[in-house]
């Protein structure tokens, strides 16, 4: 989960002249966060190849590279483009090439609903914005410094789309950080962006406890990964190299239901904060329960040199601090899971919808997080996290639990809070979130974008 806030609070910047990664070819999206406060996601359909390629040709020079965004060049808007498998096909990528892409990408997120636990209210049949449709071909992610700049970009993009015959806007989503703006958090009030992998060769320095930098091949195609040299890359190479897969999730947050739950399970504000912390594994300030098991420590939460510096195996094996089934312990089990370096993901995205003021009844307006999970293998990284970590009822032998924040909840699962002498079990966790849409996109490198534009040359 992430929100759009100032990037400056994250320590470390891209090193200039890094020889390992082709920063001029990689789209900036997974490499660095631009200092954007707002964003807009536009979802597009190409009725014909020519229109789709014309749209891409007109946009290609505006797509931000890792090098450009990492440098000190003053800019106020940043564009990222990605395509579904249907989108690549709509641009003219032939069947033989498409067949070299992994099966889960070819099936698309809606086709993988079973695997991801997208059932009940989360089922693709209930989605909004046309994201479940085979007509979803592309996404344009527009980051902007402020709302005025976003509106200017939106209008400019609208004009561009109109000039490209056969290109249609399926839907769009506006994103804005929520106040207070001095730290990244989401609608439930949890501090965000506390644990992000660092890529070898990016020059970024991991915060203490975040582990060593990971091989670029865990996130970008064509590079060695944690298991060795790149193999089985989609063909042709020019299309796959420097590309990444991203899983998009539009996750509504039911703030009213969440606050009701805290009130039902905690008599005093302190007890309610305690319940909120146990659901997440961190206090809303960001302070990890492993390091602050008894009471909140906001200065710890805000301190990046300390707020990720802990493990579970030796520091909290039974979950007396951080419950075994809490969100952060499921989504990043640290030293209590095998092959963690092959399961890491880069999270991007932000909040949408208005803030629900504290004490106000739920207004029925949709609000939540529209997040991207970036990786080199959807089945190994993203789908594993959703299938096992979020939704396996027997994770850590819990028996009947799912991730209380992002797991598929229908009121029939529990949350166990280890506590001496006897554990506390909250039965019937309600759904605090609902997936309202999602998709698998491929984010090609810049050369690959040129290759896609060039597919039309024989026409």
């Amino acid at each position: 989960m992430s929100t759009l806030q100032q990037a400056q609070e994250i320590p470390g910047v891209l090193a200039e002249g890094s020889g390992l990664l082709d920063l001029e070819d990689i789209q900036h999206f997974l490499m660095s966060r631009p200092p954007a406060r707002v964003a807009r996601y536009e979802f597009l359909h190409f009725r014909n190849e020519r229109g789709g390629r014309a749209w891409l040709a007109g946009l290609i020079d505006k797509v931000g590279t890792a090098k450009k965004v990492g440098s000190s060049i003053v800019d106020s808007r940043w564009v990222t483009v990605g395509f579904t498998c249907n989108g690549l096909k709509a641009l003219g990528v032939d069947a033989a090439s498409l067949a070299t892409f992994p099966e889960e990408f070819r099936q698309g997120m809606a086709g993988r609903a079973d695997v991801l636990g997208l059932t009940g209210r989360n089922h693709p049949g209930q989605w909004v914005g046309g994201l479940e449709s085979a007509n979803l071909h592309a996404i344009a992610i527009l980051f902007a410094r402020d709302v005025a700049e976003r509106e200017r970009c939106e209008q400019e993009h609208e004009r561009h789309v109109k000039q490209c015959e056969g290109v249609e806007l399926l839907s769009a989503l506006d994103l804005e950080g929520i106040p207070p703006f001095d730290y990244a958090h989401e609608h439930f009030g949890y501090r965000d962006r506390l644990s992000q992998p660092v890529i070898e060769g990016s020059g970024e320095v991991p915060t203490p406890g975040s582990g060593p930098p990971l091989k670029a091949g865990e996130f970008f195609l064509g590079y060695s990964d944690e298991d060795g040299p790149a193999t089985g890359m989609p063909q042709p190479q020019v299309l796959s190299r420097n590309g990444s897969y991203v899983a998009y999730l539009r996750m509504e947050e039911h703030v009213g239901a969440f606050r009701d739950f805290l009130r039902q399970n905690g008599e005093t504000p302190e007890q309610q904060e305690w319940v909120a912390a146990k659901l997440m594994g961190r206090w809303r300030s960001g302070a990890p329960l492993v390091l602050a098991p008894e009471k909140d420590d906001p200065s710890l939460g805000a301190d990046y040199s300390r707020n990720n510096d802990f493990n579970y195996r030796t520091m909290d094996p039974h979950g007396y601090g951080c419950p075994l089934g809490s969100h952060v312990r499921r989504m990043n089990p640290r030293d209590t899971a095998a092959n963690m370096n092959r399961r890491k993901m880069i999270r991007r995205g932000g909040t949408y919808g208005p803030v629900l003021p504290e004490g106000a009844p739920d207004d029925g307006i949709e609000r939540g997080i529209a997040a991207f999970v970036g990786c080199a293998s959807l089945v190994r990284q993203f789908e594993f996290a959703m299938n096992v970590w979020a939704n396996d009822p027997n994770f850590h032998e819990l028996g009947n639990e799912r991730d209380p924040i992002v797991g598929t909840q229908d009121g029939s699962y529990d949350l166990t809070i280890p506590k001496r002498p006897i554990k506390k079990k909250i039965r019937g966790i309600p759904a605090f979130t609902t997936i309202r849409g999602g998709a698998y996109f491929f984010l090609p490198g810049i050369n690959a974008l040129r290759y896609l534009v060039g597919l039309g040359k024989a026409d």
Binding site: D227, T231, R342, V379, F384, N400
Partner: protein
């Protein structure tokens, strides 16, 4: 004691059952009651005998001794690192060689507490590190690029999986971790009684 035969299919949401009541489950020919896909294909149900697989594959001619030698290799590996296979959440593994006519077959049977898809890549990584991987290389049709192609490994395993049509549990649905906890508790309790003397 008579076993209870369960006819209704269990879904992915099996609740912890009554371990005091032995139970049996008859399973349809395809190996599952209703098709539910995991990351690499259909998920086979959890039965009173927990999750499991039975992989049967023909071995390459003349490889029988090589395969048997892996018995010692694995014994030593587990002796050196007893929790090496922890990720797989196993109860038991059984490796069997048997002949049909002129051919020799290898049967790899496992009983464990998680559906195989969930930890497939972890299993492949483990097999690599322990050298179990190479036992598979003695089987006909095993993908040569398995080291870098987990999906091909999984495909082989799935193609050679022979689903049970009956499974029985004397203490149904109990996980290996629960059993270990119960034994630990018994040991600690004995210790406590000793301390009370």
């Amino acid at each position: 004691m008579a076993a209870t035969v369960i006819e209704t299919p269990f879904t992915s949401k099996e609740k912890p059952g009554d371990w005091t009541k032995p139970s049996a489950m008859a399973i349809p020919k395809e190996g599952y009651f209703s098709l539910k896909n995991g990351r690499y294909g259909p998920i086979y149900p959890r039965t009173p005998a927990c999750y499991g697989f039975t992989i049967i594959a023909k071995i390459k001619p003349g490889r029988e001794d090589t395969i048997r030698a892996y018995g010692n290799t694995i014994e030593k590996a587990i002796g050196d690192i007893p929790d090496a296979l922890a990720t797989l959440k196993l109860h038991y593994l059984r490796w069997v060689l048997f002949d049909i006519g002129q051919d020799t077959y290898f049967m790899y049977q496992g009983i464990f507490d998680t559906d195989f898809d969930k930890y497939t890549e972890d299993a492949v990584a483990l097999f690599k590190s322990l050298g179990v991987n190479t036992v598979f290389e003695n089987l006909e049709g095993f993908p040569e690029d398995w080291k870098t192609n987990a999906p091909a490994f999984v495909k082989f395993v799935r193609e050679h999986q022979c689903p049970s049509f009956l499974e029985y549990g004397e203490y149904p649905f109990v996980t290996a971790d629960e059993i270990k906890k119960a034994l630990q508790l018994k040991a600690k309790f004995s210790e406590m009684l000793d301390l009370m003397q």
